[in-house]
Amino acid sequence: MNDGATNSGRDDAPLATSKHGDPAGETGGRIRNTAGDQIMARAVTINRPRAELYAYWRDFANLATFMENVERIDVTDDRRSHWVVAAPAGKSVEWDAIVTEDRPDALIAWETAPGADVPNSGRIEFADAQGGRGTVVTATILYDPPAGIVGKIVAKLFQREPAIQARRDLRRFKQLMETGEISTNAMNPAQAAAKEA
């Protein structure tokens, strides 16, 4: 995967905002072919130091705290983790994610190992925001919706509004990092738990 940040010199805008071509294919891939993938990207500014944000994210078991559809992440070793993600109708999809690039306090990139229910790859970048505003966290996610029954489930899960889950997850990450909690309108803990389920 190249740096994923710019779109082949057309202008200075992020690759995922391109109206033309196959931006996912332009990012390349070490483990899998990303040509024709769905791509989504989103940036959020978080009023915390980047070392803190990187450290929280790099401990992948933490991610289930704010990623709504993630049921469980088992950390296999320093580079490999096993993801179980809830899908509609009580199903779940699974994959192994392998860290392909890791720059402390700056970048985590991953790709799924062969055999993933939903082949995906991406990068989370952490950069100082200007003017002392904290850290700009940019998530770029590519995924290859499979065919067949799993594909239908995944389509329901992701394709109807591809960016929606990522943007909600990033908002929750921001809330957790900035305020120490995830905002909820639940009236009691039972309601809050039901919303997460």
């Binding site: 500014t45 009023n47 505003r133 904290g134 929606i164 943007r167 909600r168 997850d169 908002r171 929750r172 921001k174 809330q175 900035e178 305020t179 120490g180 909690e181 995830i182 905002s183 909820t184 309108n185 639940a186 009236m187 009691n188 803990p189 309601q191 809050a192």
Partner: protein, 399 residues
Amino acid sequence: MRALAWHGRHDVRVDTVDDPEIVNKRDAIIKVTSTAICGSDLHLYDGYIPTMKAGDILGHEFMGEVVETGPGSTLQKGQRVVVPFTIACGSCFHCGKQQYSACDNGNPADNQDIAETLYGQPMSGLFGYSHMTGGYAGGQAEYVRVPYSDVGPIVIPDGVDDDKVLFLSDILPTGWQAAENADIEPGDTVAVWGCGPVGLFAVQSAFLMGAARVIAIDHFPKRLELARRFGAETINFEETATYDALMQMTGGIGPDACIDSVGLEAHGLFVDNVIDQIKKSTFLGTDRIHSIRQAIVACRKGGRVSMPAVYGGIVDKFPLGAFMEKGLTLKTGQTHVQRYLPGLLNAIMEGKIDTTFLISHRMPLEQAPEAYRMFHDEQNDVTKIVLKPGMAVPAPAAA
């Protein structure tokens, strides 16, 4: 507990629902002692605000006693507090700039989608005001869960009546911010469109900020009488040609600053402005844009326009030419309630601002449906209704 729940257009009921509990660390639970019906609640009542669900508990002007605290709350049980209608985290970039109503985090992640789509970025959460602004249960209830209770609520000293401080929750800081946004200079003439609660507080605030004259515009005689009581000159727009009167009253100059608080009761978010319903709804049509149009045309060259009134959607016939050619400044926005609370509480304690004049009715929470009907149907006489959860329901008159 008992709570006033929305069930549909002109259908609100006092239901028995589960008591709220502490969910997050920074939460507190407030036992409500006083809660007002806001003009903007009438738009929920009229069914104009989308993203409402049957059973939603209304109310965003409330105060009460702290009865439970999470480990991250700075409040203590037994304290009396007024709660801002805006739910702000205190930790994000916008809260750091005291732009609390623009808080990034007060609105739950899922609820931010609609506002982000409509406005580019989502605003803070609000109590009891549709799911677009958070879907939070409101204060027209016996108890309320207050998130981020270490940031929002202001503690009220013992011995100060609820009636004097309740309006810190919304309409007093909203009127104050409206005047502040008018950048008033000593000697200014300030014109205020709309003498509802916010307009009347804007009148008082404008004088405190050094205005030489305030001209208040409305068509309800009782409301104009209240404005006069605070030293404003008045224009009844049903009797008078407003622009002509303003020009003559200001020696042909026009008011230095104009405050449009007509639509203010609608400080909710009128997404239906951008959907087709608007076309059918004369309620949101040209009448609503009329006051801001008139303010822009009447305002003196180089003057300032403040718009606490809410316009949620996309409008046409906006006098952009007059606005540009005369070099006007327009400031607006939802109220950053938390920013103003300490100063305004002091102003109340020192007797510089009168708040109790506004209250025309005090009723038990159990009679809230009747209160909504009265507030909706009798605007000249009913200026403000305060609901008291603990108040006994009066016995019906003997037959």
